[in-house]
């Protein structure tokens, strides 16, 4: 299902049954590309574009965009690891902004799920640009499991992907 990476976020949503009426979400509209999706986690590249600027004086990328990316990726890192499909919802998310992201640089986002408990799953995520050793933001997110709604279809599809 996902052995032809990189694929766009929009394509990822379509294949996962998460794009009703063509809905690709903010990640899809921002042109996110999934570059890695395996047992060790997920990596996404988000190309720079002028609409993601957060301060035209400092000329840096908006901090909220980083939270959007980290929330999305932390969630998928859980779905990736689930033994059985179950809907999830963010319980809390903490983001530390280690440095600003200069306008013009592409963003890379990675995330890992450290534990899936009975009720809660724990994740971390990182954003960097040119150098993975120089992160721009790090996140800790915990997610409730078994929340309202249908289980994410992608959870079933991702089984057998090495999770």
């Amino acid at each position: 299902m996902f052995d032809d990476l990189p694929i766009s976020w929009a394509e990822f949503r379509r294949r996962s049954g998460r794009a009703p009426n063509g809905h690709v979400g903010v990640m899809g509209e921002l042109g996110a590309m999934i570059e890695r999706l395996d047992a060790d986690g997920i990596r996404v590249r988000v190309p720079f574009q002028p609409i993601i600027v957060g301060d035209t004086g400092w000329n840096v990328v908006h901090s909220g965009l980083l939270m959007i990316l980290l929330d999305s990726l932390c969630g998928i890192s859980i779905i990736q690891k689930m033994a059985a499909p179950s809907p999830i919802a963010t319980l809390d998310l903490r983001v530390d902004y280690l440095r600003a992201v200069p306008a013009g640089e592409d963003l890379y986002v990675t995330a890992n799920c450290h534990k899936i408990g009975r009720n809660v799953a724990f994740t971390t995520g990182t954003i960097y640009t040119n150098d993975p050793e120089d992160p721009a933001a790090i996140a800790n997110g915990s997610f409730m499991l078994g929340t309202a709604g249908d289980p994410p279809p992608m959870a079933t599809m991702l089984k057998g992907q090495g999770a």
Binding site: R18, A19, P20, N21, H23, G25, V26, E29, P50, I51, I52, V53, G54, D55, T56, G57, W58, V61, H62, S63, G64, L65, M67, I68, L69, L70, D71, S72, G75, A89, T90, L91, D92, L93, R94, V95, D96, Y97, R99, A100, A148, G149, D150, P152
Partner: protein, 155 residues
């Protein structure tokens, strides 16, 4: 303020009203800021692109977090009375944000207010709350730290 008034309130033009228009990503998300007798009130009108889970449907958690952080920023900028910051230039830099998600945020308008817990010479600590239909049933809360005077570009 009753919840009915809150959800019916039109965000009124004020000094802070242009802030999100001057911040490209806030503008892209459609965020609005205004002031009423209780202070800064922000609004995120519903738009399809804000949906994170189309099957529920529910707003994207990261977008709700962005809205809370932006509301906290607006309150700090409003308190500082810095003309450049009001135009979205060299605004206070956020150091960290912690969000607690309390209820699912549905496909409808979201409102938020924020309170400055402490405003020092270097740091501002702000708590923001977002709700939809009912002010007493918030959908999320955030705690944000901002660097209000960096003395230079590096944080």
């Amino acid at each position: 303020m009753t919840s009915k008034n809150a959800s019916n309130l039109e965000v009124v033009a004020g000094d802070i009203a242009g802030l999100f228009d001057a911040i490209p990503f806030a503008h892209w998300l459609g965020l609005m800021a205004g002031k009423d007798s209780d202070g800064v009130l922000c609004r995120m009108p519903f738009a399809q692109r804000l949906i994170g889970n189309p099957n529920l449907p529910a707003l994207h958690g990261g977008i709700v977090a962005t809205f809370l952080e932006a509301t906290a920023l607006a309150v700090v900028v409003d308190a500082q009375n810095n003309p450049d910051a009001r135009c979205g230039k060299e605004i206070p830099r956020v150091i960290s944000t912690t969000v607690d998600y309390l209820r699912p945020a549905g496909p409808k308008d979201t409102f938020a207010r924020a309170e400055i817990i402490r405003l020092g010479t270097r740091l501002a600590t702000v708590v923001a709350t977002a709700w939809q239909d009912d002010l007493s049933r918030p959908v999320a809360r955030a705690n944000c730290h901002f660097l209000v005077a960096s003395g230079g570009k590096a944080s």
